[in-house]
Symmetry: C2
Subunit: 216 residues, 2 copies
Amino acid sequence: MGLEMIRVMVADDHQLFADGLSQALDSLPDTRVVGVVNSGPDLQEALETQPAEVSIVDIEMPGGDGIDSISVLGRRSRAIVVSMHADDEQRKRAAKAGARGFFSKGVPLLTLAAAVRAVADGRNLLEMDDEERDHVLESYREAELDPGAASLTAREREILQLLALGVSATDELADRLYISQKTVKNHLASIFQKLAVSDRTQAAIEAIRLGIAKPG
Amino acid sequence: MGLEMIRVMVADDHQLFADGLSQALDSLPDTRVVGVVNSGPDLQEALETQPAEVSIVDIEMPGGDGIDSISVLGRRSRAIVVSMHADDEQRKRAAKAGARGFFSKGVPLLTLAAAVRAVADGRNLLEMDDEERDHVLESYREAELDPGAASLTAREREILQLLALGVSATDELADRLYISQKTVKNHLASIFQKLAVSDRTQAAIEAIRLGIAKPG
DNA sequence: TTTCGTTTGAGCCTGACGACCTATCACTGA
DNA sequence: TCAGTGATAGGTCGTCAGGCTCAAACGAAA
């Protein structure tokens, strides 16, 4: 099932924050946290064995400033710096050290996710003025979908959402949508083809995995 | 589909932290974040319209100390206080204000989840010494499963995991498990009964929802 | 030792599913 | 105005899924 994830490394000494962020990014269809470290030196070491397109680095970490560690990352991984107290001073230092993005921890998750996509795509958010950055982030707000999933029609998505909620029988789907069972089966056949699956069980799983629908 | 979740309210002014924690707790089978607020006064207001068994409150919030807001919660919700810089001073103040738990943000997510379960169950973690608290948290480490899901056998779980990975056809399941197709169908019938579902699509979704298996 | 739950296997039968094809109507963009 | 696409609906056909019942072998627990 094609779909190359953006691999993300998280460096933060607050375990709870790192765990939460990991879980959140993993739940998005196009990002995957491949490692969590608690200090700057650990970040470099982790990246040697586990490559990651983007690293999210807390500026406040014990054992050396987070900024120091990103300046030596080089081409291995592109850094987005997050900070508890975002001020212009820190922002400038982050930019100088080669970071591609800078955010306070007050930023919404989906904005950070957009930044991860933008940075993975080669954009440098720190070289933009506020207006341009907002515009770029807006354009990366929506997750890249599978080539197949992207071509799903509105009705097909609707059926997938019901499927992921457990409405699996043809007659129930027809009742919920006020259409005939024949039409439901036609839509399903189209979905199977687009998602490259062969039955409604696999379709439901794919829908959940791609973030089109949520279980329960 | 039975399974009463522990409803959790998150109060933290750092949006990224709150979003991440919400996503993480929601991904567990027995906890659900029903609301996120960014200040103490908002917490009380939110709890009036949306009840929650447990509230996770950051001690450092603008517009009044987080401690102040939990002292007026009363019976509405039990508070677990989290702090950036956990010291004994804060811990004592939290206990005095009626909090049931106190953690630094350096705590692992699964420990906090265990604390949420313990507190929801009526335990007061702040009235215990370190040894007792560790022991209690250990006992709440594993999520409570559905009465149905709990009675699943090892083989049934194995089939559910394959199902959630997209191995949905009877013959493929039989091949993977080196058993006959008849046996696969027998196991599936047993799973359907225990999970109170009627086909493998619903079973796969339930498995994902209950945390027995992960999609993709 | 005996009983119970787990795992394995089977037969039978009905209804549902999925593959393939055609067709109408509405809307949209060229 | 006309082609293309999406949503609707129908038909047929072969296979598979799910409900029901039964049973043997095994290990663990009582």
